[in-house]
Symmetry: D5
Subunit: 119 residues, 10 copies
């Protein structure tokens, strides 16, 4: 598992905490390094969540994703790590994180991890 | 939560109140202001509902959506506020409102809220 | 509810009445008038049904849809009216009628009505 | 119902009869005649099946579909007839046959029939 | 059933074995020979799996798929054989392998096989 | 050549008569009748013109196109007739009219006519 | 060169013989036989022409294309033969015929032949 | 011609004034009001230019386009007015401005104006 | 430049040698090896030619392209080599060969070479 | 103009220097920083060139583009700078470099620069 530097995601109070609704956030500009070759990797990271007490502040999300730019990460690991951070900071009722990585060696990889409160 | 000015949606009697059917209305020309920067935001608002006693009059819906043009609204909040107004005025059996907002800072946000009579 | 003129849909015997199968018929050339402004409206009408004793004769369906050309109809009403006629004449086990109307005032409307025998 | 000439589909032993798997075969080059006007009709025929003891030999399937070229067939009937032949010769556990016919008189027709072993 | 040469897929430890997540790997560059005519066949092979103790190392997967290049294989058989190998080496909780083969004789064939641990 | 009823297109003064610029107007809701069978025909009519002293008023263009609704017209003829009317009323420097007609009998027809001032 | 049976295309008087305009006719339902294997071939035949004294009557064009259904034709030859027939019967000022044939053996073939009056 | 308020576009020195190169800027979020009905209009404004001594500063372009938000403008006029402003402030060697307006009354309008230095 | 093994393309007499017409042949199933790494490369090879005395026999073209399967070739070189062979065997009046290679290292490469008789 | 660090592109001898042919290379994974805000920018850089004595070695091109990852660059400037470097190292007869940058502030920017030997 990758060593994770200190990152933060800023929670803001959910304006409609009484209602179950879904927020989907697509970020096509994720880039990190391949931990084996050091070469840049590119991905689209998508969050789909049902807010609990908080929603995520978008600028902090942008900064959060940029913080991976110079680090080495494996596809399967980084997608799960992002899921964990989002759960820790934003405490959603439900969350799905998808990492759709650019083709490498003629192969396209997508990783999809899910969290549900109380499971 | 945003302060909501007085807006109205005009209900017209449902011509087939005995039958459960679905109406989907897509409005790609929604615009409001960002409450933080004051800059224009753009979105497609989609309504999907099963009418109860009323259906929505389309011209009043158009005017309703225009009334947001010069106001500041957060994505998550305004989508839920529109849902509430539609429920108050049109009293549908079931309703889903989706706000698909234009990219900002390389990030695409979609908010989807739902209502069901008696829940 | 609109006053419906006398229209007919010609039933032909179902060649495989012992089997549940689905027929989907898409008609992108439906046009009627707006009952308020008198201006032409355009729609794609789609039928999806499981035949009972009959299937619909296609030429009679074409003539049936043409018969709306010079009449005023509201979107929600006409879609339900077409459903009723199809049920009366063809007696399907199950039927879904969808009317996807062309954009008006920047708004796209779709109406979807369903029928199931014995419900 | 159309009179069916003698046609055959060649079964070959299923190489993995112990496992439920799905085979989908799309044939966009089906043509027959309209039984009313004698004019050519065109369709894409798609088979989706879970093999039982056999899988279908593709060359025999091609010849089978060509054998309709000079015959008159109604859309609903021919799709069900093809389903029956496939069941008789290949004995699948489950089968769906879809006939998607080219537009005629501004109308697109699709027929979908299904078979399940033991039902 | 085809005679399978000795092939390997390299397992690497799953970095998040405590969590059910999905990995999808699409490989559009699969080629083998037709066992009847000796002519090249082309396919896109897609793996969708929930990892158990291991995830698959991508370079070994690429080499694995290349090893079919000079061998004759039937569509239905090779898709199931690849499923078996993946299960043997990577021991996933759940796996779906899809082989989408290029058109031959005007016919498109797709084979989809599934595995679930403990079934 | 079809007998043309009295139709009008309203010219409004070109706000920038000193400059050559292009206006393209696409009207996907044109319908007339087939002069042989009396059945409805549907087309998209597109105008591409360089204004001279006038530009066309859009509401009058809409009414102009609706006036064909109950008349019989051949594809080649009506496209040229529309070109002539536009030239008579709006006096463009250059004009291209395209009529893209819906499929009939498995055949798609497009007619494209052009005018240039002084030729 | 193939032996050509007697076929006809019906010319009708050009309603606007004084003007150069273009007619494009797309026919996606052409089928003939492969002269080597006897197997059906499928193509989309497109005509693009500037009419001279005549335009082509569409029903006769449909019948003309059907007349190839049971004959063997090579791609390059049949496209040129169709061009010659069209020139003989319709006497266009300019003509382009394109035959876009369905994939065979993993290969897609398109043939494009042109005629210009007086060349 | 519309009365134009005082607007500015900020020129920045062209970093490669010795070379002819092209810059294309697409702005899908333009909105103004209809000068007749007061209803919002929406358009995509695209600039394609060969810089002379300056290039346009993007933030000032964004503010420039926002300044139309509460004003009434005709399609043909506003596109030419934007062209003039760009020429006045940025002094390009060549410029094309395209306004692609959203559908109104079933009609799509696009206006394209051009400027070339010394003409 | 690569050492070229003995390959052949079979010419057949042009059935319409008196007329300039174009033949386009798209072959999406080309594969060779990378001369540096030995790994498979994939490409779509497209021929666009105006026949002289001959046209190419399609089966021989398929075999010709297969003959590269086990050889190492650079993108720029192999595209030009194929052009030369086609000119030598088929003697076209004009020829364009395009090799569109699959992505490698995040980079897509296309090579386009042309020949014209007498230049 | 940006200060350019020392970068290199490796030339390899053109295998067919006697012939004019075109090479197109698309690189969708370019990223640099905004020189004003320090935020990451993303672009697709495309090279289209007619080789002179050399062609570009692809691995060196990949490394060349990566070298911009941590530097600040303006869109117009970096596109021209890349053009200059390619000309210096590879000495093409003709070259076009296009930088298509991701949306920022609702605005899409594309820069296209060209070089031709002897001009």
């Amino acid at each position: 598992m990758s060593t994770r530097p200190t990152r933060t995601l800023e929670p803001v109070p959910n304006p409609h905490p009484d209602r179950e609704y879904e927020v989907e956030i697509e970020c096509p500009e994720f880039t990190a390094l391949c931990p084996v070759t050091g070469q840049p990797d590119f991905a689209t990271i998508t969050f789909k969540y049902i807010p609990g007490p908080y929603i995520v502040e978008l600028k902090s999300l942008k900064l959060y994703l940029w913080s991976f730019r110079d680090e080495g990460h494996f596809h399967e690991d980084v997608t799960n790590a992002i899921l964990k951070d989002f759960v820790d900071f934003i405490k959603p009722r439900k969350l799905q994180v998808t990492g759709k990585f650019n083709v490498r060696g003629g192969i396209y990889t997508t990783v999809r991890a899910e969290y549900e409160e109380g499971q």
